[in-house]
Every structure is written in structure tokens, then in C-alpha cells.
Symmetry: C3
Subunit: 440 residues, 3 copies
């Protein structure tokens, strides 16, 4: 095994040997006994469902990539796709090396605080029957990791859309890595890791605040530091900069809708027929309500049936139901969606008035509707009080905003966060990558 030794040596600067050691070989024989018992069937089907849900959440990353591309100009398309390739790769690997244990500290043996240094690759943790069977959960530790890893990169993807078309690639890559690897698991542990917010009665089923408001307010801070695109606000007027491909944008939104069945449905954390089917219904009804809400509301305001608003309405409804998809009744989930659809239209117009330039509407869709969804739990169910919900959503929004404001400002005053005017006009595809997205 000289080859393994060599590669391990080469890679040792970034992670230690005990992280990389085995796992597969030392698999505990108790697992076989477990699988033979009658209790294994619900475990097996729940585990399969969580893995399929992880694949559906992965699909959302393609949805984000195409939506963001479609709503931007063609001269920045390679840059956008590159960022999305980087985010999902970096997100999965940093979550493996650090994030997963940091977010769920109680699951790492011997860990005592918020930060659980070490990693799930540690063989002592990974292959005991307790981590593979119902004593741990309704799924294996591997399944737990891959499902949560697919969530982790989402926060940075949300930011990517808001800063598109003028952000400096290297600075964004550094920022995205810090956000996904450190800020997201830290904040996530407050609720999903059994931290102070879960003790305070906060309720956020699949992450209206923990994922979406977190990403949306990180995006807000970055956009404030970065400033608007050239020519967007000139002579006191808002100049629309239309996206270059509405089919790409529509493909993105439909894929996000599809993936959300995994995002919300998988958050049941098992295959309970009642809960998973309820979540599928509330998710689809809120999304549909969101699209109709946005279409109607933007029609009254703008006198045009607006496709972009309809697409954002789907996402607004989906973000809106995410916190309470398992506790809000189907009929009421339509209302949650309709209101989210109206909110997102208002928010997009309002932010443009403040000269906050968000090419894809990420701050409105994820940030503002994330807050709305979190509050909707208290308004439409008994799962939490309005006070607990306000506390939680403000904690996530404020932390993400402040973390991003500080980190992105430090980057701004050191290596810079924005390309030059010339590069922005040429497009990032040429200046950053020397490639163009289309050669027709």
C-alpha cells in the first residue's frame, strides 16, 4: 500500500490520518442481527427515503445554478456555473471534514461543546451498530451525513445569486467557504443540534430560518458591502437588467420545486406515511398559492402577467411553508403561500427602491419569506409561540448578516470583493475565466 501511504502523506497538510482511516472494514456484526429482526423494515424504508430526499435536494443545486444563470446576463454565465460547481463540491467536503459534527455535536462521542472537532470519518464513531440502526435514528449515520450535507451548501448558493455579475471570484470563494464550513453549522447547531434555540421552544421544521433566512440575510450584507451593478441605478431611476434566458430560469424554478419535496419531505426524518404525505401536500399547495399570489399581486401593481414574479412566487411559497410544513393544515398552507407570493413582490420592489441590487431576488425570496414562514408557524399552528419564532428568526438573520458583513468587509479592505468597471462591462466570463458561455 505504498500508494495509499504516498497520497496520505501528500494530503496530510489538510487533514489528519485518523480522519481518513478506514471505517468500512471494521463494520460491527451487530448490524446483521439488527437487520434480521422485524423492526428493520421501517428502518430500511425510512433510510431509503432519506437517501432519495438527499438526491432531490442535490437536484436543487442544479435548480439554483440554472435559475441564477437564466436571470443574469449571458456574459456572466460561465462565472455563475463555476461558482455553483465550486459551492456544492466545497460544501460537501467541508461538511464531511468539519461541519457535520459541528452542527450535531451530541452525536460525536465525547464531544462536549458546540464545536466537535474531529470528524465522522473517525472509525470509532462510524461503524458501531448504534450508528447504523434504530438506536441512533431511523437511518444510518451515512444517510444522516449525506442528507444534511446537501442542505449545507444552500446558504452560499443563495448568496451567489444576490452578488452575481460583479463579485470577484476569489473573494466569493473564500467567503462561501467560511460561510458554509463554519457559520452555517455553528448557527444550525443552535436548533437542529439541540442548542439554545431548541431549548427556547423555537420551531423550524425544515429551515425557513436556519437555511433560507440565514442565506438571505448573508446575501443582504454582501450586497450592501458590494454595491449595485453598474448602470442599475442611474439618474435616480431603476433600470431593469433583464436575465438572458427565461427558459433556463423556469427550468431552475421547477427543479427547485421538485427538490423541495426532498428538502421538506426528508425533514420528517423517516417514512411515516401520515407526516410525509402531509408535508408533500402542504409544500405543493403553498408553492401553488405562492405563484398565484405573486401573479395576481404583481398584475394589480404592474398591469402585466409577469413570468419572473410567477417563478419567484413558487419559491416564495416554498420558503414560506418550510418552517411549518408538518404542522400547518393543507388549506392554510395555501394562505401561507398566497401571502408569501404577495410579500415577495413587495419586497423586490422595496429593495430596488433602496438601491439594494439583487439580480435574482434572493434576499426577498429566501430572507424575507424565510422570516414570514417562521412566523407563520405561530400564526397557523400551535407548534410554537410568536415570541419564540421571532427570537429564532431574528437570531439566524442577525447572525448571518453580521457574520457576512464582517467577513465580506474584511475581504473588501484586503483583497477586494468587486471586479473592476472594465471587467464588469466585459463580463466575468471573459475577465475571470477567459471563456464564453455561448458560441452559436
Amino acid at each position: 500500500m505504498w500508494f495509499k501511504g504516498l497520497t496520505l502523506g501528500l494530503l496530510a497538510f489538510c487533514f489528519t490520518n485518523n480522519i481518513l482511516a478506514g471505517g468500512v472494514e471494521t463494520f460491527d456484526s451487530d448490524y446483521a442481527a439488527f437487520m434480521e429482526t422485524s423492526g428493520s423494515s421501517f428502518f430500511t424504508v425510512s433510510n431509503l427515503w432519506l437517501l432519495l430526499a438527499a438526491a432531490l435536494v442535490f437536484t436543487m443545486h442544479l435548480g439554483f445554478a440554472t435559475l441564477e444563470s437564466g436571470l443574469s446576463r449571458s456574459k456572466n454565465t460561465v462565472n455563475i456555473l463555476f461558482k455553483n460547481v465550486f459551492i456544492i463540491s466545497m460544501g460537501i467536503i467541508t461538511y464531511a471534514l468539519y461541519g457535520f459534527n459541528a452542527m450535531y455535536p451530541g452525536f460525536a462521542e465525547g464531544s462536549a461543546g458546540i464545536f466537535a472537532l474531529g470528524s465522522w470519518f473517525n472509525p470509532a464513531d462510524i461503524v458501531t451498530a448504534a450508528n447504523m440502526t434504530a438506536e441512533y435514528a431511523d437511518y444510518t449515520w451515512y444517510t444522516d451525513f449525506i442528507f444534511q450535507a446537501m442542505f449545507a451548501a444552500t446558504a452560499a448558493t443563495i448568496v451567489s445569486g444576490a452578488v452575481a455579475e460583479r463579485v470577484k471570484l476569489s473573494s466569493f470563494m473564500i467567503f462561501a467557504t467560511l460561510l458554509v464550513a463554519f457559520a452555517y453549522p455553528t448557527a444550525g447547531s443552535w436548533q437542529w443540534g439541540g442548542g439554545w434555540l431548541s431549548a427556547a421552544g423555537f420551531y423550524d421544521f425544515a429551515g425557513s430560518s436556519i437555511v433560507h433566512a440565514f442565506g438571505g440575510f448573508a446575501a443582504l450584507a454582501c450586497v450592501i458591502v458590494l454595491g449595485p451593478r453598474l448602470g442599475k441605478y442611474s439618474d435616480g431611476k431603476v433600470k431593469p437588467i433583464p436575465g438572458h434566458s427565461m427558459p433556463l430560469a423556469a427550468i431552475g424554478v421547477f427543479l427547485l420545486f421538485l427538490g423541495w419535496f426532498g428538502f421538506n419531505g426528508g425533514s420528517v426524518l423517516n417514512a411515516d406515511p401520515y407526516l410525509v404525505s402531509l408535508v408533500f401536500c402542504t409544500t405543493a399547495l403553498a408553492a401553488s398559492g405562492g405563484a398565484l399570489g405573486s401573479i395576481l399581486f404583481s398584475y394589480f401593481l404592474l398591469k402585466k402577467p409577469d413570468l419572473s414574479m410567477g417563478l419567484n412566487g413558487f419559491l416564495a411559497g416554498l420558503v414560506g411553508i418550510t418552517a411549518g410544513a408538518d404542522v400547518i393544515a393543507p388549506g392554510e398552507s395555501i394562505i401561507v403561500g398566497l401571502i408569501a407570493g404577495a410579500i415577495v413582490v413587495l419586497s423586490i420592489i422595496f429593495l430596488d427602491g433602496l438601491k439594494i441590487d439583487d439580480p435574482v431576488g434572493a434576499i426577498s425570496v429566501h430572507g424575507i419569506c424565510g422570516i414570514w414562514g417562521t412566523l407563520a408557524v405561530a400564526l397557523f399552528s400551535d407548534a410554537a409561540t410568536i415570541g419564540a419564532q421571532l427570537t429564532g428568526t431574528l437570531a439566524y438573520s442577525a447572525f448571518a448578516f453580521l457574520f457576512s458583513l464582517i467577513v465580506f468587509s474584511v475581504l473588501k479592505f484586503t483583497i477586494g470583493v468587486r471586479v473592476s468597471e472594465k471587467e464588469e462591462e466585459e463580463g466575468l466570463d471573459y475577465s475571470e475565466h477567459g471563456q464564453s458561455a455561448y458560441n452559436i
Copy 2:
């Protein structure tokens, strides 16, 4: 809960309070007991499969949106995408408010006729253990709803393709709503709701007639009322109007093929290994036969290997096997597909000769191949007689045609169904939406 009260008040004009009331909170404790019995495992996996099938059928709506966009001109792309966003949203919500109970009247307690006024949101219906467990079916009521809701919007989507590039948006939205909300559940109840056709020995497994011929003949009526696109038939000649993006069209067809595994496979209504795997095989083999049939047949006729015909051949084979996917042997399903592939080529050429202008071939693919698939059940299996199949498929085709002819004619002579010549030449994206799909 002043907020809930307020929003309820605002929305009270469209649905009543008892429709919106709870559901989640009053969940019956018998369910927990059911889940602990040994009988729960087949229920759990069947329920999961139906939910995944619903997600696959949802994917078909993205397939329809991209196929229709790709086969139309770029100046009508925003309009097409907008219609598809509207159809799926409106379809899911009207099916929740009315269609589901109207289509399955026997499932609504106390309903006695074809129309089951009231809704599945009624808490007395929704949360009894009987509706969540095997006493009801192999899946929960929520699952039943979401799977059937994904089907419901399909009929209008089929029409959308046929009337593309010249239909007036507002009229189409009204028509689509009436078709999906009222006509489809009414006709659907004849067979799947236990109505007169199911009593007459009609067999239509997943909807060659109930969904596809229904949509295809609704499309035919609308196209007749609407007339062809400008310049399509001039000086006695057929002028081809090529679609603007074959990659978009191909993405659409592959996604429809993918989604059909849920459309047909989910129609088994449980996870029976034999039946679901048989249906996957017949579905894939018929689709493949359809593509090869269309490619070969169009090659002999047109002397060119035609991509559009190959793509339509996939869909022809899929529509063709839909009625008998669970009762036709795999080897014979190839023949069903090959014949469907030849039929669709002939039908497209024949309709063009009649100056019936269908930009995407929807009438041929869904209407004519829907009839073929329904008859194929009698020709290749013992599940039904040819007489019963003729009765059923004519009933669906005629009802859809007449309903659409009347409603669309009424719209024509009131608010109009067609844009002006100037608007058609400019493209619907500009005239209806003030947006353009591409800005490269």
C-alpha cells in the same frame, strides 16, 4: 390569532371556513396503533412509492413546459412558460378545493352523486385513521390527493401546446381553469371514481383516454375554433414553422419519459413488486418502440432521420402503453409502441393536410395515440373487450371535444380567444407580457 382571522376574512369570498379549518391537530390516535402492527410495512413502502410517483409526475410539467417552448418560436417563450406556471398552480389548488372529491365521490363521506361538493379539507374526513391506513387504501388520503392532483393539470397542459403562439392569454386561463377544475374531474369520475364506464367493463390503467385522449380532443376543438397561425397555410401550401430550440424540446421529452415511470408506475396504487416492475418494463419498451417506429416510418416517408419525429415517437409510445401498461406483455408492448410511432407520424401529416395547426403535435400524440392505446388493451390482453374500449375512449374524446368546443366558442364570441395579427407577429412575449425570453 387575529392574523388568521384577518386572512380568513379576506379569503372568505372563495372558500368557506369549514374548508379551511384544521386537520392536522385532530389527528386520530388509532393511526399510531396501526403503524405498530406488522401490516404497516407494505402500507409504508406503498405510500412512499406513490409520493415519489407524484414527484415524478410533477417533473412531467417541467417536461411539457420545455417541450412546448422548444417547439415554438422564441418570441412566444415567456408566454408559454407563464401558461405552464399558471396551469400547475391553478390545477393543484382547484383540485384541492373541488376536483379531488368530485372525481372520487365515493370517498367523501355522505356524498351520493357525481359531484361531491365540499372538500377534502373537511376535518371530519381527513384525519380519521380509516383514511390514513390500509382500511382506506395502501396510502394515506394526502398521498391520494397529491398523486391525483399532479395528473389533473395535465389535460390543460396538452391544450396549451396545441394553441400556442396565437391564443389570447386571459381566455386561455379561463378555459384551462374550467377544463381542469370541472370537466376533468367530472369525466374522470366515470371510470376512476367508480362511475358508469367502470361498470361497463372499460379498462384504462393510467389514462390513455381519461387523461391523454381527453386532453388531445380538447386541444382539437380549441384549435378548430382558434384557427392556424398566420402564414402556416398560405397559397395552398403547408409552411413549416420550426421550433426555436431543439435542446429544450429534447430535454422536455426525456423528462416526460422519466416522469412517465411515475405516471404509469404509480397507477399500480401500491408497491407490488411484480406489477410495478412489469409497468416499468412495458413503459420503457413501448417508448423505445415508439421512437424507433417514428424514426423508421418518417425516414421512409420523408427520407430524413427526423429528430422531432423521434421525440414525438417516444411520447406516442408512452401514451400508447398507458391504458394497458399492467396487462400487456413486455414483448407486445414493443409492438404497441412501434405502431404508436407510425400512427403519430401519419396523424401529424394528416392534420397538417386538414389545416389543423398544432405547433407541438399534441392532438396526434395525446389524442390519436390515446385512442390507439385504449384499443390496444383489447387487442393485446384480455382485460377488456374492444366494444367497451371503443365506448370509453369515444366517451372521453367526445366529451372533451364538445365541452371545449362550447366553452371556447363562447369565449370567442365574448372576449375573444385570439390575439390581433399585429400582436401575433410581434410575438406574445412582447404583446402580452412586455418581456422577452432571451437577451443574449
Copy 3:
């Protein structure tokens, strides 16, 4: 049943009556008894997983179609899409008529050699309870067929990318049919059909060699016979020919990543929670490692963050982990991916230096990384020796190369394999199909 008789008569020239006969009707009643036993639950969920995995692998064909289109010039897009429609249709049908039994000869009753003439449509084989229940496997025979059929067409799709933009359509269709229908099942039977390589201790979990190196080295032979595209290598320089749409290429790669969860995860051949979840983790981690490896390595070499290399890195990592996804530890799968990501960059540059013109990088991604992945099993696990792995991967690579070299050379000296210079310059869309992909 005159109709059935007629169509059977018409089609009798290509397959015999006993192949087409029934199957569904004669279903064995022992199956019902089996389903009632407690043993049925793992069977049911495993069968469902394999069917879903088949649907995921089907998605890969859309991924290949869009990736190949995106990386080629727009004037060859219709041709590429047509080839992909043909390959999947032909692949499924020839696998039904011949390939499945040839690849798994032990499963056809009474077959004794590598080639099992006859077909799985034979009613004596198809419907016995033994083929529907756990005595056969954890899934039905139908499921086995559809999952393996989705794999079969992959080899030809890999070649399709490498020969794009100058291959003669008819010759490619003949070659692809021979490769998929005969060469792939023959070689596949050596390992997965219980042949000589499986006896020799070779280990290839999901097909780094059996599918990917096989396809990659078939592609290499074809490219050598075919020669480079016009203008690619002139005056001793390599002239890049950029693809026409990076969004299409990125959609393709993300869909391939998604589908790989089914390709690798389904190769567990049941729903074992431990193994399937391990495979999901190793697959995603190796893909992520591959993208980061390619991005870093190409950055050091080319001084640009290269999107194409990042996309190829995903695929390199995926191909690299395919042989050992169930036996390599998650931490080590990152290393397998990182190395694959570096290899693919080197290989693409190296092949360009040899004037081997592969527009999509298929030889490097599937061929070279397929060999790497096969060897990685020996380097990072105890599942096989390096000798056995070398034997196996060379056997597949050499057989695919020689088969393709001979068949493609015979085609070259008979009907020709390349379009004329004029046709190549006009583009294959015009010369072969008389259509254009874009009409904007």
C-alpha cells in the same frame, strides 16, 4: 385477436413467436403466497429501490445528451440529440431481445454458455415465482431487466460524444447497435454474468471498467479510425473548438451526478441501509473531490478557473469511485476523487498533444479514469489484488478497443464513417437531417 396475429406476422421477420408470447397471463400463484409472508418487506423495498435506481440511470441519458450537445458546436446539435434518442431506444430493445440473457446466461433456464440465445420474454422463464421472489434475488426479473437495460446503452453514448461533429450517422448507428447489442453483454458476462473474471478475483462494483473503460476505449478506437475534426490541429497547433452552450453542458453534468446515485446506489442490488448509504456518501464525496481536484490542478496548469475542467472533474470522480463505491471508506473516496480530477486534466491535455480529438473528453473521463477507479479498489481496500484489477481492466479496455477498431475499420472501408468536408463545415444538422437546432 386478428390484429395481434397480423402485427405478429408483420414483425415475424425480426423475432420469433415464442419470444413475443404472453408472460403476464400465466403468472404463478405462488407469488401471492410469497407476498403474504413476513419475508416480503425487504423484497418489496429493495425492488422499489432498484426501479427508482433504473429511473435515475435513465436520467443519465438526458445528462449525456445535454453534455454532448453543450460541448459541441450548435450546427451539430440536432445530430447529437438524434443519436441519443436512437441509442437509448435501440439499447433498451436490443437488450430485451438478446443482451439481457447473453449477459446473465446462468439465469436463462437451460442455457449453458456465454451466449444465451432466446430471450427473457420466454414465458417459461418469466413468470415463475422463483423469478419474482427472494429465491431469485431481492427484486423481480422485470426489475433486473430494466435496471441493467438502462446501463447497456451507456457504452454507445460514451462513444457518441467522442466521435461527435464529423461521424456519418448511418455508420454510427450500425456501430452503436453492434457495440450495445453484442459486445457489451458479451464482455459484461465475464464479470457480472459469473464468467472468468469473476472467478479470477476481479472486483468492479458498478462498472468503472465494465461500463466506463469499455466505453472509453471503444471511443478511443473510433476516434483513431475517424481522425480529428477539420481545423482542430493545423500548423502543428491545437486550436480549441469551444462548445456552443455551457449551461447545457452544466445541466448535463449535474444530471449525470444525480443519476450516478442510481448507477452506484442501485448496484448494491438491494436496499441494505448500510451499503446504500455508504455508496451515496462515497459517490458524492468522490465527485466533489474530483471537481476540486480538476479545478485546482487546471488552475495551476492553465492559470484560469476553468468551468469545463470543473465539470469533467465531477465526472472523473464519479467514474473513479464506481468500481469501489461499496468498499472504499468515505475519507478515502475524497482522495480517489481528487486524483481522478487531476488525471482527467492531464489526460485531456495529453490526448490533445497526440492529436486524438475528443470533443467532450469522453476517452479521458470514462477510459482513463475508469482504469484509475478499477485500480483504486486494490489501493484503498482489501476487495481485490492489484493483479486481478489490472487483468480485469485491461481485458475490458483491450476488448472494447479491438472490437471497435475492427468493426469501425470495416465500416470505414465499406460505407465510410465520416461525412464529407463540405458536410462537416455546413454542420451535420443540415447535411444529415435538413434541420437546424436553433431558430431564434
